[in-house]
């Protein structure tokens, strides 16, 4: 039975540590041990039973893939961060534009020049908006 435990340990070696991994490793060890005992009850020697169980386990990459998907949490956090950047850029740029509008209308109401800096500043939230879109 130690052999099963060692094999499971080996299969899971490359997978990043997590609570899920721990739980699954325990579950698989338990289930495989039960399988070995079942096979022995049906007349196989312990060594045969263990070998059969290990061979029939299959390819660990399926599990690796599923456990790897846990990265979605990370992605959600990143997206939230981009959302924050976007919010900041919108606030920041609207304050700057408001300042230009005020200066323009207060000091030089004759010429409308605030449009030029407005276009320049508009790039900032625009870039953030598309970055945010890309993370959806």
């Amino acid at each position: 039975m130690k052999k099963i435990h060692a094999h499971v340990e080996e299969w899971f070696q490359e997978i990043e540590d997590s609570e899920q991994k721990q739980a699954m490793q325990e579950e698989i060890t338990q289930n495989l041990e039960e399988k070995v005992q079942d096979l022995m009850r049906r007349g196989k020697t312990e060594e045969d039973a263990i070998n059969k169980t290990i061979v029939e386990f299959g390819d660990i990459s399926d599990i690796k893939q599923e456990l790897g998907v846990k990265g979605t949490d990370n992605r959600a956090a990143k997206r939230k961060q981009f959302g924050l950047h976007l919010g900041f850029s919108i606030w920041g740029s609207s304050l700057i534009i408001a300042l230009f509008v005020f200066i323009n209308l207060y000091y030089t109401p004759g010429t409308i020049w605030f449009v030029y800096p407005t276009f320049a500043v508009a790039w900032w939230p625009l870039v953030m908006f598309y970055k945010w879109l890309g993370w959806k």
Partner: protein, 108 residues
């Protein structure tokens, strides 16, 4: 043994069906599959636990620790409401797909 890649897309539904009937644990499910198919299809454990992980993440099943066996506790799986709805939909879809594929596979 049949080609496992052909059955792969239906594994979620097959396992969901077995959990739908009764709360079950891993080894029980793989035994049940071999038994019902008379060993014509055997699921690999690696695949089985990957499916559990996926179904649990999609909240189609949930797990709980059951009685003690062989010195440690078994993890049982239980279908959720969402799982039942998903299974029902998948079964309907399967009937549709079966009919469509049959149009081309039958009578040859």
């Amino acid at each position: 043994m049949i080609r496992s890649d052909l059955i792969r897309g239906h594994l979620d539904a097959i396992i969901l069906r077995l959990i739908y009937e009764d709360d079950r644990y891993g080894y029980e499910i793989s035994k049940e599959i071999s038994l019902r198919t008379q060993d014509r299809f055997q699921i690999k454990e690696a695949t089985l636990y990957a499916v559990f992980q996926r179904l649990e993440r999609k909240e189609l099943i949930e797990s709980y620790m059951g009685d003690i066996s062989h010195g440690s506790k078994r993890r049982y799986y239980k279908i959720t409401k969402l799982g039942k709805a998903y299974l029902k939909e998948t079964v309907e879809e399967w009937h549709e797909i079966k009919e469509i594929v049959n149009i081309f596979m039958e009578g040859l």
